[in-house]
């Protein structure tokens, strides 16, 4: 079965326009639980509560407010917020083209495959031009009232939009201080690097499977049939006291295995 397009738009840069369809490149396979009221096992709803009175505030009486500074809110009417919403449109504007290493993984959000919407010739010309140039585009568009930024690039020869997190969503590492302490022991550092070297391998995503998901589904089935379920308590490991000894023993073990 072929996939369903989630949106249609037109990629634009310079004089170029390429009509495309967007397809989600990933699927969510997680097992979804509902929260229930323990007493009667019925699903609960979420509600906004006034913490002073413990009373529910009906949805149409809820206002939005922007926290500005310490203890200050600026309130907005729904109409004001509606007026600030991004303007709907079909254009996927390319702001610039960059070398592929310019945008790295910390920004990646969700990938979308692009397929042609009507004109196949413009679509395949875009794929080839991207390949020849070795560059990727920084794209911006509005989809379902939300603004998106993305990298326009090729994945196995197919144009994709890798949607990116907005600047405001990513905590800048530079604003944090790493843990401090006495200078590290040169011998320990050396052993740690050796150990990493011995455990080095190619990234092979095919070797990892979500085994847990299947077990969760089995558990659900067992409980549904009223079977009893064995529960084992967790045990957390103790932190290593003597780093040098732990590293030496690890290296020895790896050498034996090799």
């Amino acid at each position: 079965m072929s996939a369903q397009a989630i949106w249609k738009g037109v990629i634009r840069f310079g004089e170029v326009s390429v009509p495309v369809k967007l397809y989600s490149a990933v699927e969510d396979r997680s097992v979804h639980f509902r929260l229930l009221h323990a007493r009667d096992r019925l699903p609960v709803k979420q509600a906004m509560i006034n913490p002073e009175t413990d009373e529910i505030v009906p949805y149409d009486e809820i206002h939005r407010a922007y926290p500005i500074g310490e203890g200050t809110l600026v309130m907005f009417e729904q109409e004001e917020l509606d007026a600030l919403e991004p303007e709907a449109g079909r254009d996927i504007e390319i702001l610039r083209f960059m070398p592929p290493e310019a945008i790295d993984h910390r920004w990646y959000d969700r990938p979308y495959y692009l397929g042609p919407d009507g004109s196949e010739s413009a679509y395949f010309a875009l794929a080839e031009a991207l390949e020849h140039s070795g560059r990727e585009g920084l794209a911006r568009w509005v989809m379902r009232k939300k603004s998106y930024v993305a990298a326009l690039r090729l994945h196995r020869g197919v144009p994709i939009l890798m949607s990116l997190r907005h600047e405001e969503e990513v905590i800048p590492i530079d604003s944090l201080e790493p843990p401090k302490g006495k200078p590290l022991d040169a011998r320990e550092l050396d052993m740690a690097r050796q150990l990493i070297g011995m455990l080095e391998a190619e990234f092979d995503p095919g070797q990892y499977h979500d085994e847990y998901r299947a077990r969760v589904l089995e558990l659900i089935e067992a409980k549904r049939q009223g079977k009893s379920v064995k529960v084992v308590p967790l045990r957390r490991r103790e932190p290593s006291e003597d780093l040098s000894r732990a590293l030496e023993a690890s290296l020895k073990k790896e050498r034996k295995r090799a």
Binding site: H63, F76, S147, L219, V231
Partner: protein, 354 residues
């Protein structure tokens, strides 16, 4: 809405009713990284905010509201210990699954990120990256943390493992940057569609002139890098600008009493004052002291000043126990959500119960 709206809450007034304190910034996961025979305890915090701008929900007077689970039949908000997790097997028919049952499915992986493979950070296909979490050292163990971070960063390698957080298994790449460890959850291969599954049309040779014209347009727009600001969300920017204008005019401004920080979580568990927590946990090697959440896990029967004081000395005794010991007590007391609690939280919850 009245403009020049001013509001001051009276504080320090004894409250009859239970008040709900939104969940504080606590780690999403606490466990151990294993690297060979070296193990180091860590806490995981989100490295991404879910929205570029966070608006709070308030009532018409500007009182910040809290999101709570609510029983339609009883018409009241529920406490966390009145909630269970269910899986819908048929319409309105649920199988209740407990946290400890989920943990028992993978006891090691629920507690441990075992780094058995190291790969080049650049080798990981971009399609796999899902979400980032920052790791902070726990239990004051910073030396092993720094050792792992420094040796991984120097070699440009990421540690690969699978682990279980909450009710799911994750493939994860541990990446070190500027001395800080970050866990990037990766998608499993089976979660990624191939181009063939989409059934895109067969590749056809495009018109050469058209390709050339596009290449020219690409070259004309080419730069060597981009500025972080280009990724800003214009929509959020507009809201912030408008809010500043309104503040300058004194329009629709609400001042809150000190006990209600405007930056409190909009949703249970979502942390806005995350930076503060991260800074403190990175500096001290353990999460900041959690404020007592008496109302969230209410002591059965009564709640007054006396029991709170007694609770305090008991908490000190409980702190001397290991997490395993505390977990066992929490299990005996059937404290909900215990699997997600770190040592300090377990001590808190057990103390509040007894």
């Amino acid at each position: 809405m009245p403009s020049q709206h001013q509001k001051k809450h009276k504080s320090a007034e004894p409250k009859e009713k239970k008040r709900f304190h939104p969940a504080g910034p606590r780690p999403l996961w606490s466990g151990t990284i294993s690297f060979g025979l070296v193990s180091l305890p860590v806490n995981l915090y989100p490295a991404n905010r879910t929205r570029p701008v966070s608006l709070r929900m308030v009532d018409r007077d500007g009182t910040p509201l809290t999101r709570r689970y609510f029983c339609e039949k009883d018409e009241r908000a529920l406490d966390n210990d009145e909630l269970v997790r269910g899986y819908e097997v048929a319409k309105n028919e649920f199988v209740v699954i407990e946290d400890r049952e989920l943990e028992s499915l993978a006891p090691e992986k629920s507690q441990e990120i075992d780094l058995k493979r190291f790969v080049g950070v650049d080798e990981i296909d971009p399609m796999y990256f899902q979400r980032a979490y920052l790791m902070t050292p726990d239990q004051g163990v910073t030396k092993a943390y720094r050792l792992l971070a420094e040796s991984m960063e120097a070699s440009g390698r990421a540690g690969i493992a699978t682990f279980v957080m909450r009710d799911r298994e994750y493939l994860v790449a541990i990446i070190a940057e500027k001395g800080i460890l970050r866990a990037e959850t990766l998608r499993f291969a089976e979660e990624i569609r191939s181009p063939e599954e989409i059934e895109l049309p067969e590749k056809a040779a495009p018109d050469k002139r058209r390709v050339k014209a596009m290449e020219k347009a690409i070259a004309a727009l080419s730069r060597e890098s981009f500025e972080r600001e280009m990724l800003q969300d214009p929509h959020s920017q507009r809201i912030v600008e408008r809010a500043e204008e309104k503040l300058a005019r004194g329009e629709d401004v609400v001042e809150l009493a000190e006990e209600e920080p405007a930056a409190a979580p909009a949703k249970g568990g979502e942390v806005i004052d995350l930076m503060q927590v991260l800074k403190q946990s990175l500096a001290e090697g353990c999460p900041p002291e959690q404020p007592a959440r008496e109302s969230e896990r209410p002591p059965k029967g009564h709640s007054n000043g006396m029991s709170a004081r007694r609770g305090k000395s008991r908490r000190a005794e409980l702190k001397a126990l290991s997490r395993d010991q505390l977990y066992e007590r929490a299990r005996e007391l059937d404290i909900p959500g215990r699997s997600r609690m770190n040592k300090a939280e377990l001590a808190e919850a057990v103390a509040a119960r007894r």
